[in-house]
Subunit: 455 residues, 2 copies
């Protein structure tokens, strides 16, 4: 291994050759690398990083037998472009060798009538397995599971189990424990591969069995499943129904995907976008999606403008107010989003409970007020040097204290309210908190100015 | 299993009992559950979700032998509070049974002199292993790896390998493949546990060996390692030095932790915060950290105010300008952050290359201009109904188009520039883009107003 190029370096080089080949149009090399050298995940990355035209070229060069795995690695949006043009029979063939959860993911993107046709084109056994997973959404354990488990009865010996393994077409790729079930398919326990490797072949499975393995109810929320994998350092876990019967298995590779998606989601959410929104989508599609978020913000901006409008007469007398007003609003926005981020993180980690919410709330308010006082002194002094108007300095200083208090309250309460109404706080929280601190900031600043400077 | 409460349900119940016990002060039950029932990760969660006083109570009730594992699960900030009060000898004992990467993580939080003392208190062999990992930062593969690998020579038989396994104190907890090395410790390949389980005992290891396993250079960036695990669905991977010699092993549980941290980071970054910033830290600590980000924003806000100040005379004549100015700035801020999010995600995924950056840039600009035109018409019409001043409507409409163009350019170029200067775009990008669109928005809107309305 040390004298030759590592596999990963070779893949990186091949990706470079494909990119150059697509640019120059010399495609024979590209076709070879796509079908005989590059792994599916890298082909998917290559497709996602290509312009819409190049994507079609890559897809056409790709042999049918590779298309299924590439499809399962692609972002939904990009996969959708290819799915539209595939016949149900072709799709059934292309996806035949995928894991059941991956097939279900792909089918869920199709219109219901088309899904039925694809299922109809499958072998009976495959159809049954896929239909079982299709019954569950991606948000719960059932949607993450594979139905191809390996299980044995408790009274067989290790030797018998190993003989059984050799008869299977293949052991699952991620195989860290053997599941043990009774004749009703109820999960009794699990045996780690480590025990299987080191046990005497005549040992009964029962003797090696962990009787309290982590098991996952089919209805458990996906993010809870992910947290469980993280907490217990799991590689795989059995999925059971309400009666404890074995339905399938979740493997850590799907959890890694889930967390990666989660990380991406948080990048996109701060701009009100969906992670599946595709970097390389056509302009019109992009523009339409973003317009939704801009519209929501426009309503918020007009609300802020309306508040300023209430104080037109005051601003006419003191134009300095128009100059300083963004400072109060923007400082409040930042402080509010700081409290919001702390709360969202705590919600995601399940750290908030009745016992500590009061303490948490008071801490945010105290931190907000402390920073309010600190920055009000600073801004007050700068404003005094700038406009040499003592009363104006007092007004902006007081407005800052009030708005940082509003920010702390809004930052803590908004995510709690949104969660109660089942709206994702990470998505809607930012624009709501910013609106509250904008409106609050303008109202406090211009209102105080009207009282103190005008009257 | 089906007739009794599952292990997870029992843990959840026990956590509830501990929380109630801490509230009421009846601690004997709490002590029992902490030391004989709850897994370390759940104790760590419990500590993180407790107030600073309760944390000390839990820590004191926890037996020494459990403290090491709990420490390795805690957020840095919270762990730091306990580490401060521990003697080097106690720390060496408490961490003795942890994985090398976990010990290294804990030691890296200590002052250098203290680290040396803790290392000195360790057994010689442990010290050597930990020192090897301590040489690498958390940002590279070396910092993630465990040094306790299991490896064999290529010419031994499966039977011999299995006998060797039985002599080890224990096989590693996550063990999906056996590494094969030559006498110089160079990595030759790997054998999957699946092959070991199903092979005839007399088979030579060499015959089962994958000669091109994924191997990770010790200097590879952690996020690249994580992407590799995700792409190849890995459970573990060997770490090698520049000569291909085996140094250690990275397991998927550390990758899951990495991705979870990444997801948390993105939640916090949008408010300029660090994920290790602790939800339950004392007020003063919290306030000081947030003040840094508020200060940066204050500079940006004063820059925006200064731009408005340039146009005081114009605003004096048309107070409606002060009312409408936040609309132009905030729409630009949203649009800019949308482009920014797309770019950051593409950077994280390594989707940007020389071949597509031009296409991407032009797409962002076109999408920005399209939305600019759309919203300028909308805002122009609303402004006309509000102020019944045609020229003013034209001014805000034009300013919006220009600012959404600025937003697209800033959203694409800012992350590229930041990356070149090795500043995290996810952290600093938001405040920079918002500053550019604020300043640009105010300047365009008030500047156009001065030209069109005053002159």
């Amino acid at each position: 291994m040390s004298d030759k190029v590592t596999r990963e370096a070779q893949i990186a080089r091949d990706v470079g050759i494909v990119e150059a080949g697509l640019d120059s149009g010399s495609l024979s090399n590209v076709r070879y690398l796509l079908n005989f050298s590059l792994p599916p995940a890298d082909i998917a990355d290559l497709i996602e990083a290509s312009t819409p035209q190049e994507r079609q070229v890559i897809w056409k060069l790709l042999k049918e037998k590779h298309r299924g795995e590439v499809l399962s690695e692609l972002a939904e949006d990009v996969a959708g472009d290819f799915l539209e043009n595939m016949a149900p029979k072709e799709l059934a063939e292309v996806t035949a060798d995928l894991d059941t959860d991956d097939i279900a993911d792909i089918l869920q993107q199709l219109p219901a009538t088309l899904t039925a046709q694809v299922l109809h084109s499958m072998r009976a056994q495959d159809r049954q397995r896929v239909e079982r997973v299709l019954g569950y959404s991606d948000d719960v354990a059932g949607g993450l599971m594979n139905t191809d488990t390996v299980s044995v009865r408790p009274h067989v010996t290790v030797k018998t189990a190993l003989r059984y393994f050799r008869q299977l077409p293949a052991l699952p790729q991620i195989f860290d424990s053997l599941l043990v079930v009774n004749t009703d398919d109820r999960l009794l326990g699990s045996v780690s591969v480590n025990s299987l490797l080191t046990a005497d072949p005549s040992t009964e499975i029962k003797a090696l069995m962990d009787e309290e393995p982590v098991s996952i109810n089919v209805d458990m929320a996906s993010m809870k499943v992910a947290l469980l994998f993280e907490k217990r350092d799991l590689v795989s876990a059995p999925v059971v129904d309400g009666d404890g019967c074995l339905l399938g298995r979740i493997t850590v590779d799907d959890i890694v995907d889930l967390y990666r998606d989660e990380a991406e989601n948080h990048i996109m959410e701060r701009a009100g976008m969906d992670a599946e929104q595709d970097t390389f989508a056509p302009v019109m599609k992009t523009q339409r999606r973003r317009a939704v978020w801009l519209s929501i913000n426009l309503v918020a901006a007009f609300m802020a403008a309306a508040v300023i409008g209430l104080f037109e007469a005051t601003i006419e007398q003191f134009v300095a107010l128009a100059v300083l007003q963004p400072i109060v609003a923007s400082m409040g926005g930042i402080a509010g989003n700081q409290s919001l981020a702390i709360m969202i993180r705590a919600q995601v980690l399940g750290q908030i409970n009745r016992g500590n919410i009061g303490w948490l709330f008071s801490r945010e308010v105290r931190a907000g007020l402390l920073n309010g006082v600190l920055f009000s002194v600073l801004v007050g002094v700068i404003a005094w040097f700038w406009f040499e108007h003592a009363a104006l300095s007092w007004v902006i200083a007081m407005a800052l204290v009030v708005n940082l208090f509003i920010a702390a309250v809004a930052g803590v309460l908004t995510p709690m309210l949104l969660q109660r109404f089942k709206i994702d706080p990470a998505l809607a929280g930012g624009v709501l908190v910013t609106t509250l601190t904008d409106v609050g900031g303008f109202f406090t600043f211009l209102g105080l100015a009207t009282i103190i400077l005008v009257h």
